[in-house]
C-alpha cells in the first residue's frame, strides 16, 4: 500500500515535469544526420545549415511568435542508429525533422516519424522512400528514377558508349540508383555488360575492378558514395582500366577529388548544380551567410536541398497560422513553386519533389567542374 502511494507520487511528479516540458514556448526542429562517420562532412553541413537558418528566422521573431530550438541526433549513416535517433527525436517533441543524408537512414526512421505525425524531409534519392504513402514524408531532392533517366540518356545517346558497366554498393540509395540506370539504359537499347555491387568502406576494390577490366567496358558507372567512388577511380587508373568513369550524384564532394588524386581528372559526375552554380539570389545570400558563420562553403548541394525542405515546412506552418503537422502536410501537397534556394519547390502527392535539374560535369586538371551535358 505504501509502495503504491510512493509510486503514484513519483508518477505525479513525473507528469508535472513532463507537462512543464511540453509547455515550453519553442518550436522544436530535429536534425537527423551522419554527424560522425564516413559521411561526417555532409552530416555536419546539414546540421550547421539548419542551425544557421534557425538563427536567421529567430532573429526575425521566430515562427508564429515561437523561437526555433534545434535538436540534433547523429545517426552515423547507419540504419540502426537512425531508428534510435527517430525515437529520440520524437520523444523530445520535435514537430519536424530535417534529414537524414542517406536513403538508408531516412528509410529506417520514416515509419517512426509517420506514426508520431512528425514531418520529415530528406535528400535521400532512393525511389522506395516515397512508396510507403506516408503523409509526413517529403523529399527535397529528386528521386533516383529521374537521375537514372538522365544518366542513361547521357551514357547511351550523348556519349554513345557501347559497353556499359554499372557498380553499386548495398545501400538503398546506391542500389536503387544503379537499378534505375540499368533499367533506363535498357529502355534506350544500351548494352550493359556488367552489373555488380561492392561493400561500402571496403577500401580494396582491386579484385572487383580487375574482374570488370576483363569485360572490357567503355565506361564504368558508379552509383555509390564519394568515399568509395574516389578510391574506385584511383584504383581503376592504377590497374590500367582505360574506361571512362561516370559517378552518380553522391560522388559530388570535394573529398572525391582528394581520394582520387590526379586520377580525378577526366572523371564525370552527374548531379544537380553545385551550390556555387545556383543562379538564385536566395542561394547567393545563404551561401554568403554560411561562409561568414562557419568560414567554409557547404560540403555539397545536399546541404542546401535540406535547408529548402525546412524552409518549405516553416512556410507551410506560417501560411496555415498553425503548428499542426497534418494541416502543414496538406498545404505542402497543394503548394506550387515556392521559391527555394535550389529552385522552385512543389511536391507531388507521394511527397516527391517535382522536377529534375540534372547536369553532367567533367572534372578538369585543376579540380574545377565543367558542365558537359544538361
Amino acid at each position: 500500500m505504501k509502495q503504491t502511494a510512493l509510486l503514484s507520487m513519483f508518477l505525479f511528479i513525473f507528469c508535472c515535469f513532463a507537462g512543464g516540458a511540453q509547455a515550453e514556448n519553442t518550436l522544436k526542429i530535429g536534425v537527423q544526420a551522419p554527424i560522425t562517420g564516413k559521411y561526417a562532412n555532409e552530416g555536419q553541413g546539414i546540421d550547421q545549415a539548419v542551425r544557421l537558418l534557425a538563427e536567421q528566422i529567430n532573429a526575425k521573431g521566430g515562427v508564429l511568435g515561437k523561437q526555433i530550438e534545434v535538436v540534433s541526433c547523429d545517426d552515423e549513416g547507419t540504419a540502426m542508429k537512425a531508428a534510435i535517433c527517430a525515437k529520440n527525436l520524437v520523444n523530445k517533441g520535435v514537430k519536424m525533422v530535417i534529414g537524414s543524408y542517406t536513403s538508408t537512414c531516412a528509410e529506417a526512421a520514416q515509419a517512426t516519424y509517420y506514426r508520431a505525425g512528425v514531418l520529415q524531409t530528406t535528400d535521400g534519392t532512393s525511389d522506395s522512400l516515397t512508396e510507403h504513402g506516408y503523409w509526413t514524408f517529403f523529399r527535397n531532392s529528386f528521386p533516383n528514377s529521374a537521375e537514372g533517366n538522365f544518366a542513361a540518356k547521357y551514357l547511351v545517346k550523348e556519349k554513345k558508349y557501347q559497353r556499359i558497366a554499372i557498380l553499386s554498393d548495398f545501400s538503398s540509395y546506391a542500389d536503387g540508383l544503379g537499378t534505375a540506370v540499368e533499367k533506363a539504359v535498357k529502355n534506350l537499347n544500351g548494352n550493359i555488360i556488367y552489373r555488380g555491387k561492392i561493400k561500402s568502406g571496403a577500401q580494396n576494390f582491386t579484385p572487383v575492378i580487375t574482374q570488370i577490366k576483363s569485360k572490357k567496358p567503355d565506361v564504368l558507372f558508379f552509383s555509390g558514395y564519394f568515399s568509395d567512388g574516389g578510391l574506385i577511380r584511383s584504383q581503376m587508373v592504377g590497374l590500367g582500366l582505360k574506361a571512362d568513369f561516370v559517378g552518380g550524384d553522391s560522388n559530388d564532394n570535394p573529398d572525391f577529388l582528394k581520394l582520387a588524386g590526379k586520377s580525378a581528372q577526366g572523371a564525370y559526375i552527374i548531379n544537380v548544380p553545385t551550390p556555387e552554380l545556383l543562379p538564385y539570389d536566395l542561394a547567393k545570400d545563404f551561401l554568403k551567410a554560411y561562409k561568414a558563420k562557419y568560414n567554409m562553403t557547404p560540403p555539397s548541394i545536399w546541404t542546401l536541398l535540406n535547408v529548402d525542405g525546412m524552409r518549405a515546412f516553416i512556410h507551410a506552418m506560417e501560411q496555415n497560422n498553425s503548428f499542426d503537422t497534418k494541416q502543414a502536410s496538406e498545404f505542402l501537397h497543394q503548394m506550387k513553386d515556392y521559391p527555394g534556394i535550389t529552385g522552385p519547390i512543389s511536391f507531388a502527392k507521394d511527397g516527391n519533389r517535382i522536377g529534375s535539374g540534372y547536369m553532367a560535369y567533367r572534372i578538369e586538371a585543376d579540380g574545377s567542374y565543367k558542365i558537359v551535358f544538361k
Binding site: K38, L239, G240, G261
Partner: protein, 298 residues
C-alpha cells in the same frame, strides 16, 4: 589467365599489409600469451601520426626522402606509444588472471580509438598522393609503384625480422621467453626488456602497415583499426598464433583468398568466406597452419 595473375598481385599487396600487422599480434601473444586487441587501433593511429608529420612538420614536401622520413618518424612515435601502452595497460596485470588482461586490451583499444577521434576528428582524413601513380605492365598484369613498394618493403621487413629472431642473441632471448618466461628469467634474461622490445617491434611494423594503408587507400578514419585489426588477427590465428613465419604466411593466404573470392565469387562474400576458411583451418589444424602442438598445462 592474366586476370588470375592480376588477382594474385592484388591479393599479395593486401596480404603483405595483413602480414605486417599480424606480426604485432603474434609476437605479443608468443611472449605474453595475450591478445593485444589495441594493436589494430595503434595501426590506425600510425596512419594519422604519419599524416600529421607530413602536413605539419615536413611542410608537405613530396620527395623520396620525405617519404622515408615519414616512415622512420612515425615508426619511432608509434613504438614509443607501444611501450606506453604496455606499461599502462598490461604490465600492472602481468600476474593477474588472463581475462583481466584481455579486458584491459579491449579497454585500451577503445581509448586509443576515441583518442584518435578527439585529436583528429570524426571525419575521414585523406592522404596526399605521396607515391606517384606509376605502373608497369608484365604480360597484361599491371603492378603499380605503390603495390611494388608495399610487397617489397614488407618482404624486406619480414626477412629482417626472421633473421633477427633466429640469428641474434636478443632473438634467442625472445624465443626463450616465449617458451617459458620463468625459466628464461632464471637463465638471466630480463623479461621486462624482452617485452618492451616485442612491443617496439610490433608497433613499428604496425606503423608501417598503417602508413601503407594511408598511402594505398588514401582515406583514413578513426575507426578503421578495428577492420584491419580483425583481418590481421585472423591471419595470425590462421598461421598459428605465436608463430612468426605463421603470421606472415597467414597474412599472405588471407590476402590472396580475399582477392580471389572478391574477384571470382563476389566481393560481398569475401568476409564470410574468410571466416569459413578460418573455421576449416582450425578444424583441420587447431593450432593453425604452422602452429606447434603444445601440451596443455593443467
Amino acid at each position: 589467365m592474366d586476370i588470375f595473375f592480376q588477382q594474385l598481385v592484388n591479393g599479395l599487396t593486401i596480404g603483405a599489409m595483413f602480414a605486417l600487422i599480424a606480426l604485432g599480434y603474434t609476437m605479443v601473444y608468443g611472449v605474453m600469451k595475450l591478445i593485444n586487441f589495441a594493436h589494430g587501433d595503434m595501426v590506425a593511429g600510425a596512419a594519422f601520426v604519419g599524416l600529421t608529420i607530413y602536413t605539419h612538420i615536413m611542410g608537405e614536401a613530396a620527395s623520396l626522402l620525405a617519404v622515408i622520413a615519414i616512415f622512420l618518424l612515425t615508426a619511432a612515435v608509434v613504438a614509443f606509444l607501444g611501450i606506453l601502452l604496455e606499461r599502462a595497460a598490461y604490465r600492472p596485470l602481468r600476474n593477474a588472471p588472463r581475462l583481466s588482461a584481455v579486458v584491459s586490451a579491449l579497454g585500451a583499444s577503445l581509448i586509443i580509438q576515441n583518442g584518435i577521434m578527439l585529436v583528429w576528428g570524426p571525419q575521414m582524413r585523406i592522404f596526399p598522393e605521396l607515391i606517384p601513380q606509376v605502373s608497369w605492365e608484365f604480360g597484361g598484369v599491371i603492378v603499380s609503384l605503390i603495390q611494388f613498394l608495399i610487397m617489397g618493403v614488407s618482404l624486406l621487413l619480414m626477412v629482417a625480422l626472421y633473421l633477427f629472431i633466429e640469428k641474434t642473441r636478443m632473438g634467442a632471448a625472445i624465443r626463450a621467453a616465449s617458451i617459458d618466461q620463468d625459466a628464461a628469467r632464471l637463465m638471466g634474461i630480463n623479461v621486462d626488456r624482452i617485452i618492451a622490445v616485442i612491443f617496439i617491434i610490433g608497433a613499428s611494423l604496425g606503423a608501417v602497415g598503417g602508413l601503407f594503408i594511408g598511402l594505398y587507400y588514401r582515406g583514413i578514419t578513426f575507426n578503421m583499426g578495428w577492420q584491419y585489426g580483425l583481418y590481421a588477427f585472423v591471419a595470425a590465428i590462421m598461421g598459428g598464433i605465436g608463430n612468426i613465419p605463421g603470421a606472415m604466411l597467414g597474412g599472405i593466404i588471407l590476402g590472396l583468398f580475399n582477392a580471389f573470392i572478391a574477384g571470382y565469387v563476389s566481393s560481398t562474400w569475401a568476409d564470410a568466406f574468410t571466416f569459413i576458411l578460418l573455421i576449416v583451418i582450425l578444424i583441420v589444424r587447431p593450432t593453425g597452419i604452422l602452429g606447434e602442438r603444445v601440451a596443455e598445462k593443467v
